[in-house]
């Protein structure tokens, strides 16, 4: 019984990673770890793709107000003629 226990402890110790292996694992984790920073283009893409209607209608409102102020009904009639069926 005592012999069995000793064999078990030896097997268990063998299964554990060695000091060298542990160091290798740590080095691997450290090399993989870096603070992820999204670039401005990525952030803009994310902002547009989540709630896409929000960006679309904001942009559309700006252009509609601006162009109607410049060209008046000439612009709105043109849009109506092109898209209005």
């Amino acid at each position: 019984m005592k012999k069995d226990k000793k064999t078990y402890i030896i097997l268990e110790n063998d299964a554990l990673p060695t000091k060298q292996q542990k160091e290798k694992m740590l080095a691997h984790i450290l090399s993989e770890y870096h603070v992820y920073k999204a670039s401005p283009a990525e952030r803009l893409f994310k902002m547009i793709t989540v709630y896409p209607w929000r960006f679309a209608f904001c942009f559309s409102t700006v252009q509609a107000v601006l162009f109607t102020m410049i060209w008046g009904t000439g612009y709105t009639n043109l849009i109506l003629r092109v898209f209005g069926g």
Binding site: T49, W53, F57, T61, F83, G84
Partner: protein, 187 residues
């Protein structure tokens, strides 16, 4: 209902979850607004009360369905040419998820056409309609780009190439849709 909010607000996740029933519901609803609701609205609310033609309604509904399959086939062929491995049935099941703006456009077109005299030469109404139409166009374009990235899995240069060529095909198919009587292209 939850899925419709996902399609509306988080299209990227909606493309991944691929709910084909929601996609086809959006397509069917768009076609019916175009082919049944539009003529009925003109009949009841329009200044000339044109009597709707059942034969015309059935014909345009069928052609609307064909138009959906045609755009899916075009997307599949061109994306395949640019290196996408996505099969055709995935396009048929997911392209319909971009139909939220198309559905809104068909409703806006039905009203703007029937009540044309209200909107014509009116800067306030015209400006509001301009916000709706241009907003819908930008929204659909955003969904189109997300679709090419997420479903067709195309990146940078290949995506730009596919975007331009499919864009040209969309213009051609949209003109054909207009010719056969679908005022909002089922694309």
């Amino acid at each position: 209902m939850e899925f419709f909010f996902e399609v509306l607000n988080h299209p990227k996740e909606a493309f991944r979850n691929r709910n084909k029933m929601a996609a086809w519901f959006l397509v069917a609803f768009t076609i019916l607004i175009n082919t049944v609701f539009g003529p009925l609205l003109a009949w009841f609310g329009g200044p000339f009360h044109p009597v709707p033609n059942i034969y015309w309604m059935l014909r345009t509904t069928l052609l609307g369905c064909l138009s959906y399959f045609a755009i899916c086939a075009v997307l599949w062929v061109i994306c395949k040419g640019f290196g996408s491995k996505t099969p055709l049935n995935v396009y048929i099941q997911t392209w319909g998820l971009t139909f939220f703006p198309t559905l809104l456009c068909s409703i806006a077109v039905a009203f703007s056409e029937t009540f044309f005299t209200v909107f014509w030469n009116n800067s306030i109404w015209g400006m509001l309609l301009s916000i709706v139409f241009i907003g819908i166009l930008i929204w659909k374009t955003i969904l189109y780009v997300i679709f090419l990235r997420e479903v067709a899995e195309l990146k940078s240069g290949r995506m730009a190439g596919a975007f331009v060529i499919i864009g040209i095909m969309i213009i051609v198919l949209a003109s054909f849709n207009g010719y056969i009587g679908l005022k909002t292209p089922v694309l």
